[in-house]
Structures are given as C-alpha cells and as structure tokens.
C-alpha cells in the first residue's frame, strides 16, 4: 500500500485518498472553437506515462483537498507531493 503525504495533513495510508488521474489537464477555455478531434483529445487521450508521472489525488477521508503527487509508475515510489499552486508542470526525470 502507498503512503501518501498530504500537503496539509501529513503522511497517511493510501486508503484515505482518492485517485484523480493525470494532473494539469486544463479545460479548453472555448470548447466551441475546437474540432471533434481536439475535444476528444481533452476528454480521453492521456499520457499514461511509464516512469515519473504528475497526478492528482484528493484526501477524500481527510481534509478533502486536491493536490498533486509526482510518482514513478513503475517503482510506485512517490517523488514529491505539492499543493496545486506549487506543483511542477514538468516531471522530473532525475528524482535524486
């Protein structure tokens, strides 16, 4: 089981959290300007990264706030947790 450090509550068991998928997918500001392909890209297409991945988690059984976790999807090692404001946009490929 993962141990995730909520930026507000500290380290807790994974079972307190809810997974929210890839981070930083911005809703297009003008959906009507998009083609069907662009809209589908926003709705469905995912990086599905093998390696360091920026993803959203919510502390569902705690403070209920959303935050960003950087986690290696092969080793499952958590490389960092951030509030939405301070979250990096690019994944770090050298966590050391």
């Amino acid at each position: 089981m993962l141990q995730i450090t909520c930026p507000w509550c500290g380290p807790r068991d994974e079972t307190e959290f809810h997974y929210g998928g890839e981070a930083h997918i911005a809703r297009p500001s003008d959906p009507y300007a998009l083609s069907d392909e662009q809209w589908a890209d926003y709705l469905y297409m995912r990086k599905n990264t093998r390696g360091p991945h920026l993803e959203q988690w919510s502390h569902a059984a705690g403070c209920r706030r959303w935050f960003v976790v950087q986690r290696d999807t092969v080793s499952y090692q958590i490389l960092g947790t951030y509030t939405l404001a301070e979250a990096p946009r690019e994944v770090s490929h050298d966590p050391a």
Binding site: M1, D13, E14, M45, R46, N48, T49, E55, T73
Partner: protein, 416 residues
C-alpha cells in the same frame, strides 16, 4: 509440426518421453518480414496464427520482449464468457466464444476449455433489473443466458451464503452455461505452435525500442536485436500500448492499471462453475489443479509495476468470504498483478492508426483473455487487408471523436 495424438503419445512413451520435438523454433530475426506483430501474448500469437492460417502470410514475425505468454496471458483468472450488453461487443465476444469451442481441435493442442458456466450475481433490485436487461439483450443476439433467482443460484453453488447476516444479500444471477474457463498457458503455446508450423518466426527476448516511419508510413521497427524492415506492424502489448504509441507519435485514450489476482492452496473439487459479483467486487473459480482462483478490481492508480496495493486484495477477500464463509480458513498460495490498459468505455481498440501500416489492438482492460481467439482473428483480418472486419469496425480509434463509444462498464464486470 508433429501431430499430437494417442499414437504419438504411445510412441513417445516407448522412449520415456525423451524425444518429443520442440513445439516451436527459436530463430534469429530476419532482416525483413511482410508483417511484424509486437507482443507475444495470447492475442499477438493468435494474430500471427490467423495471419498465416487464414490470410496466407507466412513470412511474419512475433517479437516478444520477455517470453511468450509471460504478461497478462499468464496473469489472468482465465474466465471466458460472451454476455455483453451492446450488439457490437456481444458479437465480438460471441465470435470469440465460438472459436474457443473448436480451438483444441483447430490447434491440435488441448487448451482445456471447460464450459462450466458463469454466474454474475445481483445483490439488490437494481442489479437484478440490469442483469435481466443484459440477459434479454444476450438472447436477442443469440447468446445463451438465463435469469435465475437466489434458489437457482443455491442449486448451482450449494455452499454459497444466502441467509446469513450479509451486508449485500444475493438476489439472483445471470447464468451463461456456455461460458467457462481455459488453460491460459496452453492458449499461448497452442497458437505459438500452430503459427510456427506455418512459418511464423517467434522471437523472444527481443524488445521493440522504436517504430521507424517515412512519409507517414511504417518502414520497420528498431529492436534490441537490430532493425527489422517491414511494411506492417501490429501492436498487441496490453499495458504497454501507450509506450509503443508514443514511439509513433500517437496518443491513445488508455490508462494502465495494476489488476491483481490470487490463488489458494489446492483443494478437493468444491466449486464447478465461475461466480462473479460486480457489486461486492470479487470473482472466483476452481482450477483443474484444485486451487481457488480469485480476482479483484483494478487498483485506482495507474501503474506499470505488475503489482498493486494490499488493500485491494483485502477488499476482494472480504467479498469472497462474505459470499462463501466456508472458504474463510483457506490459505492463499500466490498473489500477483498484471498491467491492464483500460479504455474510457471499457471496450477494446482494434484499429488502423493515422500512421499507414501501423495497427493497434489494445484497450482490452480487465477482460482480454476471453477474447484471445476472436481478437487475433479480427486483428489478422485488419492487418492483412488494411481494413477492419465488420466485427471490429466499431472498435476503431476514431470512435472517441465521432462519439460512438460502446459503454460496456456493466458487462465488463468487476474491475471498472
């Protein structure tokens, strides 16, 4: 290929079974093939088999980075059924089930397909309405299915708990008698042997590291054993589909999750059918070796690590023990995870791509094993003719922007 028969068994018995021929060769990769299948799991090997057997393409290779059948083919709970709700999915899975029914004869290899039936339990009124709708849809599509009540479940599975203080009591089930289980390794090995006999090169320990393209067309694959030239590449790599797509600059609507399973110590025969429950998240059958084979839901997070969190197993075991208190003291022997590529509509993608000569067969998510023969059959058709068969035409990559999604979350079962 030496045919397996009672006579070959006796003949080889006379030499103490020391002289059986190898079931397939391990050739060096050639510089060029007419087509290359990436991924030596059941689906990839079936694709190669049908490319050779149905479309006369013998000069092809299957590239496998590990050993054949070592990914999800060897990591699933071997359930085979076709009771899907929507016409598109029902036809695809039913065609697969029909191929299963003749597969041991077709391949001259015992895949141990056992039509022991599958029960999908309902635990409340809405479950029963959904199940009833699905059974009716199945019957309209010519797929066997029965709606049975709690007593009917008890008749088929006498040790199931109906009267205890269960939080989710069993109200009934759908029952598909033609469904069942098969031997996972045998499917991979049988297709490998059949493909090899028709000239297909099965190359293990050969990882694809790049997909070379010129003018929007595939010209070959870079591998850990050198460049291989080919005009057609079919990618059938389950959990790693997005990684291969990335090599060709394509985005896929997939997320790869760990899906765990576990088996118990072997026991005397006690469960002669398959019991699945979407509501309490667990499914169980008994293998021919006597082990209880138990499956879970996917872990919520994405992952490529072929393992998941223990809390998911804990939840699964709680569900199984609530349904079968008699199993509460059974000891578990092994536990593992596979990486399943889940699609937004719980249906596969068997499709051409924007790159000419590049085909993807992915997105099977939690339920690919049952479709192994049908998946290979339609994908071989798609690769050989450069157009989908009518069975897999609805499962194109384009459906995500045309909006023709096929929502099978209900019938896809427990896991999502």
């Amino acid at each position: 290929m030496k045919k397996y028969s009672v006579f070959s068994l006796i003949r080889n018995g006379l030499s103490y079974h020391q002289n059986w021929a190898e079931a397939w060769r391990s050739p060096e990769p050639k510089a060029e093939y007419d087509a290359v299948v990436v991924g030596g799991g059941g689906h990839g090997l079936a694709t190669a088999y049908y490319l050779a057997a149905e479309h006369g393409m013998g000069n092809i290779a299957v590239l496998e980075k590990g050993w054949i059948g070592g990914g999800n083919t060897g990591r699933n709970t071997t359930i085979v059924r076709s009771n899907y709700l929507w016409d598109e999915a029902a036809h695809l899975y039913e065609w697969s089930l029909k191929l299963w029914e003749g597969l041991s004869q077709e391949l001259n290899y015992n895949v141990m397909f056992s039509q022991r039936g599958v029960l999908n339990l309902g635990h409340n009124l809405q479950d029963m309405r959904d199940i009833s709708r699905r059974v009716n849809a199945n019957r309209l599509n010519g797929i066997d299915g029965e709606l049975i009540d709690a007593n009917g479940v008890k008749k088929l599975v006498p040790m199931i708990e109906l009267n205890g203080a269960t939080r989710y009591p069993i109200h009934g089930a759908s029952y598909q008698p033609r469904a069942g289980t098969a031997r996972h390794d045998a499917v991979a090995w049988g297709y490998a042997r059949g493909a090899d006999a028709r000239g297909v090169d099965i190359i293990q320990q050969c990882e694809v590291t790049g997909i070379r393209r010129e003018d929007g067309k595939v010209v070959g694959v870079e591998t850990s054993r050198g460049f291989i030239r080919t005009p057609k590449v079919g990618v059938v790599v389950a959990g790693n589909a997005s990684v291969l797509a990335d090599m060709a600059g394509i985005r896929l609507p997939l997320e790869s999750h760990p899906l765990q399973a576990l088996v118990s110590e072997p026991m005397k025969p006690i469960l002669d059918t398959v019991v699945m429950s979407n509501a309490v998240h667990g499914y169980i059958s008994q293998s021919d070796k006597g082990e209880l084979v138990i499956g879970a839901g996917i872990d919520s997070y994405t992952g490529y690590g072929q393992r998941g969190s223990f809390s998911v197993i804990e939840g699964t075991i709680q569900a199984i023990v609530e349904m079968f208190p008699i199993f509460s003291r059974v000891r578990m022997l092994r536990q593992w995870g596979g990486i399943v590529d889940t699609a937004p509509d719980a249906c596969p993608i068997i499709s051409r791509t924007p790159v000419q000569g590049l085909y993807f067969n992915c997105g099977w998510g939690t339920g690919g094993f049952k479709a192994t023969p049908g998946s290979g059959w339609v994908f071989a058709h798609t690769m050989a003719r450069d157009e989908p068969h009518e069975l897999n035409a609805p499962f194109s990559l384009e459906r995500f922007h045309t909006g023709h999604l096929i929502d099978e979350h209900g019938a896809a079962g427990v896991a999502h």
